[in-house]
Symmetry: C2
Subunit: 219 residues, 2 copies
């Protein structure tokens, strides 16, 4: 199956939005891809034709088994390139996403597998997301919640779900990265903001918006 870049991007975003088995709506996908709902409808027809998604008018989209397979390949390439950029080229955490968005579209299994080997077959990427292996299998992510939901006091950052440059740069500035341990000092119910403290840093208050995108597990 030969996919265009546009098709790959749609498949990848459907995969991303389809947590569990929920259907993905036209609007959500358009928002995720920074495009228009009408364009998504067009693409949905094409991807249905190619049997990569299940789609009925007005009923939303889910990946077919083949679509999921394709998505996992793309995700694999994306996350391996992120590892390469961080581990080998010394890019920082927040810079690699956009570059990986481009590199992931070089569709060569041989290249992908050689790259993985070269990197020591890593199983998580620099954001803490698991990397599918050549067959699409990936380690089940360890249980984690978003920072605003966490009930433990001492936590470790395991992933960041919003990969926008703005958020990642913000976290970087605050000394927060994967594996960073932090302590929750207070919850402010008024605006759901949270006061946290990272070792050797002054305590900071972060908005609910930000907290939602920081995944943590108790430490």
């Amino acid at each position: 199956m030969n996919l265009s870049i546009a098709e790959e991007n749609h498949i990848k975003s459907i995969y991303k939005l389809q947590e569990g088995d929920s259907v993905v709506t036209t609007n959500a996908l358009a928002y995720e891809l920074d495009t228009k709902p009408a364009s998504v409808t067009d693409m949905a027809k094409k991807l249905k034709e190619k049997k990569l998604i299940e789609y009925e008018k007005y009923k939303g989209i889910t990946l077919s088994p083949e679509g999921r397979k394709a998505a996992l390949q793309i995700v694999r390439r994306h996350r391996l390139w992120e590892c390469f950029l961080v581990d080998k080229l010394a890019f920082s955490w927040e810079e690699v996403h956009e570059l990986a968005e481009e590199l992931e579209h070089v569709r060569s299994e041989k290249l992908t597998n050689r790259l993985s080997e070269f990197l020591g077959n890593p199983v998580i990427d620099p954001h803490g997301d698991p990397i599918p292996d050549a067959h699409g299998k990936m380690a089940k992510p360890r249980p984690q919640t978003s920072l605003d939901q966490a009930n433990a006091r001492r936590l470790v950052v395991t992933a960041v779900t919003d990969q926008s440059t703005a958020l990642l740069a913000f976290l970087n500035a605050k000394g927060i990265k994967l594996g960073t341990q932090l302590e929750i000092m207070a919850h402010y119910e008024y605006d759901n903001s949270i006061e946290i403290k990272v070792k050797q840093q002054p305590a900071i208050t972060i908005s609910e918006q930000v907290a939602k995108n920081i995944m943590v597990r108790p430490v």
Copy 2:
């Protein structure tokens, strides 16, 4: 200047065909790009508009200074990726061209420069072609002639000008790669074929066609 992949490919091929200062013809460019002359004409208008080429109807194409600069960036990326694939991922000589054709279109100066550094700032690629530096400067290739023109008897392979998989695989099978030393045993005037011998291999006869694409210098 933001170039599309199609535009980059045209610029690169014009650069390749424009040896010295000769103009590049519509037909030659169409052949090189495996497209049609009419398509080249269309693209020429666009590239002229963007001031990357000099072009007058029926008078052929040359790169403008900005066009040459763009071409050198693309060539730099291409050759660095080839180094990466061969040196780091253990790809063989003849496999890397097609992959580099894709990777070269990731236009990030930071990535390119980091990659170069990671590779130890190489100055020639696995085919023996010089790699432009970040400013577009590259080592003047050492004097070389094609194998069919060479007058010395003992030669070393410095480059291969035709990067087709077929030729590279052929050379690989015959044990000929960059740096291989060979000896010319005979010229056959009848069909301009050449008998050559590589150390520890039986002598072989190669056609003029092949010989033209093997660049050598006396050793």
